[in-house]
Symmetry: C2
């Protein structure tokens, strides 16, 4: 059986290499496209430089953080080093660093390609929709392939070298601590710039959104890249690694057929990546000229290929079970269903957007109230879907024996994330064509080109709802399996300490209950701190913009030669974002440690549950309400409920401003916060077993 596993390690490396090779091919293909327009070249260079400024600053701070965390891990995990666990601790610390480094590389290259693709997409739009779509999509696909390739490579390498799946939790923690910074930091950055640019440009001066006089305008464009491309990529890298890591931890803890189960995890991940490669290679706009359909149909193609390939593998390979295949397929299908439900609440061709638009006629309070209400309601289908898929996966796999039920749930998460390469490609396509639209306008490429860019952009927005639902759903299932991984880790520590094992976390135990209630409050506090951080940071940037208008002669009037200092704004967004997110992130981590020291492992089990429950609720609420307000505004702007400039439009703009940090900062960061907290809990489980006040 050991040999069998080596085959899967080999195949994992081979598939990852294939993904990298394909990514290099696409990168070179994108790079071959020409940009003639000088203005576009210049602005796209400014965006690229701004993104690099942010990434370098971020990675410098992260290097310090990761170094300190690695040192702590080396000293303390999996058990204190003075208890003679030198090799295990070194492996854990190194695998943590590997997780951060691979995540950083994927983010950096993703940004590089995205900032390369935006100008080329704008330019290609002059030749028509089909070639422009290809440039935008392939630019995004480089990110998708890299992220999935890195996660498969990393997980396989760490497990092959150490043979111990609990070391994988260190790798996963590295990925998720970086994702927390990338997602929350990028989220604060992008909304800081967006809000400050709007307040000073649109509101105070009455100039256009992309007017180059505004010192915040480049920061705003940079924000799309660092928030949506790098942040989202790091988030899904993290989810993917966490799903594989927790499935592997549970697989290794199963008695009987453990190696077949470990192989199964790798096999599903390999086939998911192969399916994504095929989906990406065949994606193109069909005869109907509809880019939304092109994106969605390549997702469905990938889904179909994955289901077929895994069915074949189950048929052919010994020890592979149809029950596990069913669990994994359930996860994938629920992901698609969540996406459709999200779409219902945020798509302007469905009734909800129109209702919020009409409510806006009574004033902004009604925009906010109706958006909040539908946002809250929208959480129900996704939460019920996640819950049902967990239930079905459990029922399918429970007959396989002790521990298989929770393994089934973790395989549902792996299934949902199997096509993540395709999902990231679709998602990264969004900011690329969004930037391309701005560049086409600023570069004066003409009405026809802008119309094409608009169409590409609109497809990106529509597909985004589906991918966001997917990533929240995947995080939900992953964290359930992380809860299983946590219990497995705790029991290892309890066994080592000669204490009685935990069989579960009973709600009726007030220690568990204590954890649940405090855990439920943390995502609320975390997201509130991020929103307040955006607000504070935007005020700083507004002050800087006012200074530039005051001190740079001719800037406000737009005299030739009077150029704003774009980099100052980028600097403020960068340093403020990092400052604000560190306090929010540390709050979540320290609360975990505090609850563990008060209530021990039982309280932490409850804490993780509370965190998942309220985190899912708030993430779905904030993401969907934000998307809903955004689309209600656009719906009014396209001539409904009074149209642009009407009282309803003014109200909808206020709703959109409320929704911005909801959907782009707080909402999507909650996922990562949950994963980080789960991993901190798993890593510190032996500490909580050793010391706790009530535990």
């Amino acid at each position: 059986m050991e040999n069998n596993l080596s085959v899967f390690y080999g195949l994992s490396f081979l598939t990852a290499a294939l993904a990298f090779a394909f990514a290099v091919y696409l990168y070179l293909w994108v790079k071959r496209q020409q940009v003639q327009n000088a203005r576009i070249k210049e602005i796209s260079m400014l965006i690229k430089e701004g993104a690099n400024t942010f990434m370098i600053r971020e990675y410098k701070i992260l290097a310090i953080f990761a170094g300190a965390a690695a040192a702590l891990i080396f000293l303390l995990l999996p058990s204190p080093i003075w208890q003679g666990s030198f090799t295990a601790n070194l492996s854990m610390a190194l695998s943590y660093l590997a997780g951060t480094i691979l995540s950083a590389i994927a983010g950096k290259i993703g940004i590089l390609v995205a900032t390369l693709s935006n100008a080329r997409t704008a330019q290609s739009a002059q030749q028509g929709l089909k070639p422009a779509f290809l440039v935008g999509f392939r630019g995004g696909a480089v990110m998708g392939l890299l992220v999935v390739g890195c996660s498969l490579l990393g997980v396989a390498a760490v497990l092959m070298i150490t043979g111990d799946s609990s070391i994988l939790l260190g790798f996963s923690f590295g990925a998720s601590s970086l994702a927390l910074f990338a997602k929350a930091g990028g989220g604060i950055f992008t909304k800081t710039a967006d809000v400050a640019a709007d307040l000073t440009g649109k509101v105070e001066l009455g100039i256009d959104e992309d007017d180059p006089r505004n010192p915040a305008v480049i920061a705003d464009n940079v924000g799309d890249n660092v928030g949506d491309v790098a942040g989202m990529g790091a988030d899904l890298f993290d989810s993917n690694v966490a799903a594989m890591a927790s499935a592997l931890v549970i697989a290794q803890s199963l008695t009987g057929g453990a190696y077949a189960n470990v192989s199964m995890v790798f096999c599903y991940a390999i086939l998911g990546l192969l399916a994504s490669i095929l989906g990406i290679a065949t994606a193109k706009v069909g005869k109907d000229g509809n880019p939304t359909r092109a994106l969605n149909s390549s997702t469905y193609v990938t889904t179909g290929i994955f289901l077929a390939l895994t069915a074949l593998a189950t048929l052919a390979l010994p020890g592979f079970s149809w029950r596990i295949w069913g669990a994994s397929a359930t996860g994938l299908l629920v992901g698609v269903i969540i996406g459709i439900a999200t779409d219902y609440f945020t798509d302007d061709t469905k009734p909800i957007v129109g209702r919020v638009a009409r409510a806006s006629s009574s004033g902004p309070a009604f925009t906010v109230l109706s958006g909040v209400s539908y946002g809250l309601i929208s959480a129900l289908p996704a939460m019920a879907g996640i819950a049902l898929s967990a239930l079905v996966a459990y029922q399918l796999c429970a007959p396989m024996g002790q521990g298989y039920a929770i393994f089934g749930i973790s395989m549902a998460a792996v299934g949902m994330l199997s096509i993540v390469g395709m999902i990231i490609s679709n998602d990264a396509y969004g900011p690329i064509v969004d930037n391309a639209r701005g560049l086409a306008e600023m570069g004066g490429l003409g009405e026809q080109t802008i119309r094409i860019a608009d169409e590409l952009d609109s497809a990106g927005n529509t597909v985004k709802a589906v991918t966001k639902g997917f990533s929240i759903g995947a995080a939900g299932l992953t964290v359930i399996s992380l809860l299983g991984a946590f219990m497995a880790e705790v029991n290892v520590a309890l066994e080592a300490a000669g204490k009685a094992l935990i069989t579960g976390f009973d709600i009726m135990s007030p220690t568990v209950f204590f954890g649940i209630l405090t855990g439920a409050a943390i995502p609320a506090v975390f997201s509130a701190m991020l929103i307040l951080g955006v607000d504070r940071n935007a005020q700083r940037m507004v002050a800087e913009i006012h200074r530039q208008f005051r001190e740079i002669p001719g800037l406000r009037e737009g005299k030739p030669g009077a150029r704003p200092q774009y980099s100052q704004c980028i600097d403020i967004a960068t340093s403020g974002a990092l400052k604000e997110l560190i306090s929010a992130g540390m709050t979540a981590i320290l609360a975990t440690v505090a609850v563990g020291l008060i209530g021990g492992p039982l309280a932490i089990g409850g804490f993780l549950l509370g965190n998942i429950v309220s985190g899912l609720l708030l993430a779905l609420f904030m993401s969907n309400a934000g998307g809903l307000w955004d689309n209600a505004k656009k719906y009014i702007e396209s001539g409904n409920a009074g149209g642009k400039g009407s009282p309803a439009h003014k109200a909808a703009v206020i709703g959109d401003t409320v929704g911005d940090p909801f959907k782009d900062t707080a909402g999507p960061s909650i996922n990562t916060q949950i994963t980080v907290v789960s991993l901190v809990a798993s890593l510190l489980s032996s500490l909580f077993v050793a010391f706790s006040f009530f535990g």
Copy 2:
């Protein structure tokens, strides 16, 4: 021991009678105060009639609902009547009806006294602050005494007659189904009128809030009474009954010393009511002329007396345990702490209100964002407090034996609610002096009187934060003990069916987990439906006001003799409120039944937990954010951050409008929704044991 219990039944009736006698005395005292001003007499009569219109309409619908529910209970509960349980089913149905009737009586009389007291408080304010305070406070105290007297009487009578504490769950369900209507219906009513009056009066016509030309103005005043007096009274009646009922169910299930434990529940309730009577009797404004201090110090006096009396009882009576006393004292102290934390986030002398006011200078989106953020953060101390008190109560009582730990938690809830008579008096004082302020202005009682009424009103607002925190905290603890009661009921049903008993609800069981996630979504959906209901209903009333301005000659211009049809607006608010709340309430109840039929008792255990967790989070968030926005607006109006009429003020008014249905409709109704769902689950436990799809 049986004899011992009879003594406590006797004492319960005696104390309830004492409370009623004291209430009658206070009622007659309030009635003796004179109202000379004809205008005040007239308006207060209109408010009284409006409140009666609502109450009669509400009670008519409720009578149908209660009759149908009683018939269903008679047929099905505690077990299907065709299984030969005629007497038990009849007792359950009758005790359900008794619960609804006592709640209705308390609500009706409370409204009667409140509408009697408001005019008399206004008139007394001409003699000075001290006499006016007494009138307002004693008017509120009638409600407080009635509610607690009725709950003690009802619980003691049902248990004495049937001897079976599970029949008490029927009584408690009667109380909570009425509370759901009173609280949510009253909440929709009051905000419908408030929003419609503001939209047409302040915004469209630019007339004053209390201008008698506005057809919605009386409905607005009626709303204060039906929402705050009757609704809040029904809510706390419900919480109090539920806390006692669940403590008694658990006490009866304990092996050994069960009768001493049952006696203890009654003893604590009796002493709490006595302490409240003493606190009410001694409440008056001291030499410093500070009504806030008068209200708070009488709360502290009541708390002190209760702790002393229960300590004496523990010392004197056999079988009474210091551990239980400690649990109960912990509950009470945590209630006070939650109140203080709430105060920190909503009081304008503390920093948060000022921050929201200053954020408003950047526009309404920032009012909303900062209010949402601090509202989310404010949930942490209360949730951690509830969790810690449950943990401490558990640790204290666990050494007493099997089942005592959860009994300790239920006694913490009884302790927190022991001084509920005092809490309701303080809370009902609020709308009375609020109305009195309006009457003093409309009756032209002069500057000095209005200033006094203002001071009384402001004290009411400040104290309200504390009482609201108290009632949410109490509901939280109560529902934990209802979860214990649910498990006890399920085990009775399982034993009867010859199946294995449940020992707890393990998070790691996906059946439980399925329940948790769906349960967590329900308070979100429920509160969203109420908020959307307010919005829809306000639109209906706005249309009616426009009709009146169009069709009644001279009304808009304020010609003498042109009188609006106030009752039309009251009718719309009434029928709309009842219509909207029925769909929201039924959604919560049907979801419970659906989850029970899908997943059985384990799923329902999880469902209740999810419901508590997200319900507490949303209730605290909505109540506190609403209070915060309200006070931020008032803070600006008193000259800060630009003062009245500034952009910050306009933004704060929008924030306040968002907050209105948050804090007065959805937030406070969530408590009741949780209790109703918990009781439905307990009552249907044998159904879920008998049939379920995955269970």
